[in-house]
Symmetry: C2
Subunit: 195 residues, 2 copies
């Protein structure tokens, strides 16, 4: 049976990204060193450097992977809902559950922006793209709820609400920030609907 051998079983590269993602998410980018990553992953240092030219390149791949997982997880959580309003609410519920995870340490993109501001342009760009993608997704959820042409502006506002909730949840450790943000969003939405 070559079947077991055939399945790449997760390449070393993917293992490294997965391990680094967890470590960077929990400990920050500067504070977690390459040695910690390879020791945790159980992979030789040279292997890391054959797959990634530098630590920053690894961080960039980690952020790309985080973006994929974030989208997949959020969309999988939203999709079962059919009602447009329920779908939008699910975004906030998803955030609430995220905030309640034991190792929650904020948004990896916000944190990267904080640590590498003006220093590593690529990471800054990845963070920006992540937020833009989220805003587009929000616009799609908002479209069936508001008048034509209002979705884009409201998506930017909802994006701001989510970023605010993340900040409050991180600094004050208050997972209810997600609910507060949804409460605000619903009222803003109601106002928009009434108009």
């Amino acid at each position: 049976m070559t079947a077991l051998a055939r399945i790449p079983r997760a390449t070393k590269r993917d293992q490294l990204i997965d391990t680094a993602l967890r470590l960077f998410a929990a400990g920050g980018y500067h504070a977690v060193g390459i040695d910690t990553v390879i020791a945790t992953a159980g992979i030789a240092k040279q292997t890391l450097y054959t797959h990634f030219p530098s630590k920053n390149a690894l961080i960039a791949e980690v952020l790309r992977e985080r973006d994929r997982r974030f989208r997949a997880s959020l969309e999988a959580f939203v999709d079962p809902h059919e009602e447009p309003l329920a779908r939008l609410e699910a975004v906030f519920t998803w955030h609430r559950q995220w905030f309640e995870e034991p190792g929650f340490a904020g948004c990896m993109f916000n944190n990267a922006a904080a640590e590498f501001h003006g220093e590593v342009a690529e990471l800054q760009m990845l963070a920006r793209e992540h937020k833009q993608a989220l805003e587009r997704y929000l616009a799609g959820l908002l479209a069936p709820l508001v008048a034509q042409g209002n979705a884009a502006a409201l998506a930017a506002e909802f994006n701001l609400l989510l970023d605010g909730a993340i900040g409050v949840a991180l600094v004050s450790g208050d997972a209810k920030a997600a609910e507060r943000a949804w409460c605000m969003g619903r009222r803003l939405l109601g106002l928009k609907l009434a108009t």
Copy 2:
């Protein structure tokens, strides 16, 4: 004339805090080393370590100083306004101007929470206290605008709006996030007033 000599002229301790504040704000806490701080301040390393037991202690003092300056600057900006609504709006205008400053690199407390999450409890606490103080200040500004008992809840929401604006401004480089947040806040306020 001993007058010149009498004025401590800014103690070495204060010079160090001032220099470290600017450097940490722009470059982050891990990325900026002690050597950079003393070289920029033009002060011997031993002097730093006679005033502060460790780098983290220096960071803590920097955050305390940042909190003082933040409050003083914000209150000085708000105070000339008399109308309650204008006073509240001034908070957002102040943030907009902050976002537009050349070296804007986010909120030092949010950034500290991101870099030292779960690692240095004192810094986490300072960040939390800073946000709590801001929320109390917002509650004071909101009190004359809303029904008794609503100010506290709305202050938490406005605090979330400001955090959201900071996040958006940092990641997306969009200083207009402050205006967007105010636009949202005003609508939430209007809704509250109407009720």
